[in-house]
């Protein structure tokens, strides 16, 4: 459990009972997480700030459904995931209806300075590229477990799937990213936006052990 989770859970509990003063605490604790989550899921052209605002609005609308004494993080990420799903559907619909020559370029993300600093290293850029090529279901499992620090159980609750599926997806994402980082030229991950549980990369790359092998020893 993260050090700030008790405070977050308490704030969400108060907010769900109508205490609007808890919103500032929620915003302070959730904004960094949600923004990073959307950036990892959609990249810098993915309107992360808009998605964060939409998620806070939905949290506000759905606060009555937050269970008494429940853990806020998986619940919040489940709502964030719903925002992503709706955004993806809207984007596809918009793209299908738009004549190609009328398409405008994506506006730059306003928080580019922070991100520029964050992706300063080449390795981070490579991970960003690798993440963008992962199947959606693998990427979301990996992001929640590796970067957002959710337990397998909480990630499964947020994604509405089983713990075994989360483990498998996160593990395959890990292997694919490792392969991408180790590949001397060209991406090792196939573009596969719809995903599926396709086996990705060899389990040990560049002589380095995967977490699984390390753990099994």
């Amino acid at each position: 459990m993260h050090p700030d989770e008790p405070e977050l859970n308490a704030a969400m509990g108060r907010y769900s009972t109508g205490d609007d003063s808890a919103f500032a605490t929620l915003y302070r604790l959730l904004h960094p997480r949600l923004r990073s989550y959307f950036l990892r899921m959609r990249g810098r052209a993915g309107h992360a700030d808009d998605l964060v605002q939409e998620t806070f609005l939905r949290i506000h609308r759905a606060r009555a459904m937050f269970g008494r004494g429940a853990s806020a993080l998986p619940w919040v990420y489940a709502i964030g995931r719903n925002v992503l799903i709706d955004h993806t559907r809207y984007t596809r619909l918009r793209d299908a209806r738009t004549v190609p020559e009328e398409q405008a370029p994506e506006p730059p993300d306003t928080g580019a300075d922070v991100e520029s600093a964050a992706v300063a290293s080449e390795a981070a850029r490579a991970v960003e590229r690798a993440l963008s090529r992962l199947p959606e279901i693998q990427r979301e499992a990996f992001v929640l477990v590796r970067y957002e620090g959710l337990s397998i159980k909480d990630a499964a609750a947020a994604l509405g799937t089983t713990q075994a599926a989360v483990k498998l997806r996160a593990f395959r994402a890990y292997e694919a990213i490792r392969a991408e980082l180790a590949a001397p030229s060209g991406p090792a991950i196939e573009d596969n936006p719809r995903g599926g549980e396709k086996p990705a990369a060899p389990s040990a790359v560049g002589g380095k052990e995967t977490p699984v092998r390390a753990r099994q020893k």
């Binding site: 302070r28 009555a64 922070v114 397998i152």
Partner: protein
């Protein structure tokens, strides 16, 4: 193959977007939203109104004369219990704050169909009628009228109410509303032929599940 439980061995993969400090928090959204207690009151109110509607409409139509017949009473009693039970299975909050897992809800949905179809097979003596378009149309229409107000109330109260698996949860709610319609028409229609009860009275259960799944998928997610 056992993927890792902890994130320690994953640290060789850098984070391209680490958490940045939050900006100054804005005021909470001005939009009015329910609190937990208000939502509970609405759910209870909708359930009460639905039950009242079913009883009043059944009384207006008139109860079947063989209501005291044991198989009929068993059917109506079990189906009536299955309605709140189905809602409970699909919607009750668990310890982690989420409603029951999709597998549980799917099992609940299958159980609803099984309970309905299973009890139709009970041997009952009474009026027999061959399955025809006219009889199906008549009973299915009455069952729909029974089910419609509960369905509308459920749609209003549970809109944006399924954090995950919205189609599945919507299907259970729709099936439950359809089952309430089936209970209503079954408390009125004297025909006991299994095929008639299964199709003419049970059509709303299936239709309710389908419509609920569609509406849940479209409007269920918060």
């Amino acid at each position: 193959m056992m993927p890792p439980e902890t994130d320690e061995p994953w640290n060789d993969i850098p984070d391209p977007f680490p958490h940045a400090p939050a900006p100054e928090p804005p005021p909470p959204p001005a939009e009015r939203s329910l609190t937990r207690s208000q939502r509970a009151q609405r759910l209870a109110g909708a359930a009460g109104l639905s039950a009242t509607w079913l009883v009043i409409f059944a009384a207006v139509l008139g109860f079947r004369p063989d209501l005291g017949n044991t198989p009929i009473a068993v059917q109506l009693a079990v189906w009536s219990v299955a309605v709140p039970l189905g809602l409970f299975v699909s919607l009750r909050p668990m310890e982690d704050g989420f409603p029951p897992k999709p597998r549980t809800v799917a099992a609940g949905l299958v159980a609803l169909f099984a309970v309905f179809a299973g009890l139709v097979a009970l041997p009952v003596t009474g009026s027999q009628a061959a399955l025809s378009v006219a009889t199906v149309k008549g009973c299915a229409t009455v069952a729909t009228v029974f089910a419609l107000p509960p369905a509308v109330l459920a749609a209003l109260v549970l809109r944006r109410g399924f954090v995950n698996a919205p189609a599945l949860r919507g299907a259970v709610v729709g099936a439950v509303c359809g089952l309430s319609g089936a209970v209503g028409v079954h408390s009125h229609c004297v025909v006991v032929t299994a095929s008639h009860v299964l199709v003419a009275h049970g059509l709303t259960v299936l239709a309710g599940a389908l419509v609920g799944a569609l509406l849940g998928r479209r409007f269920g997610r918060p």
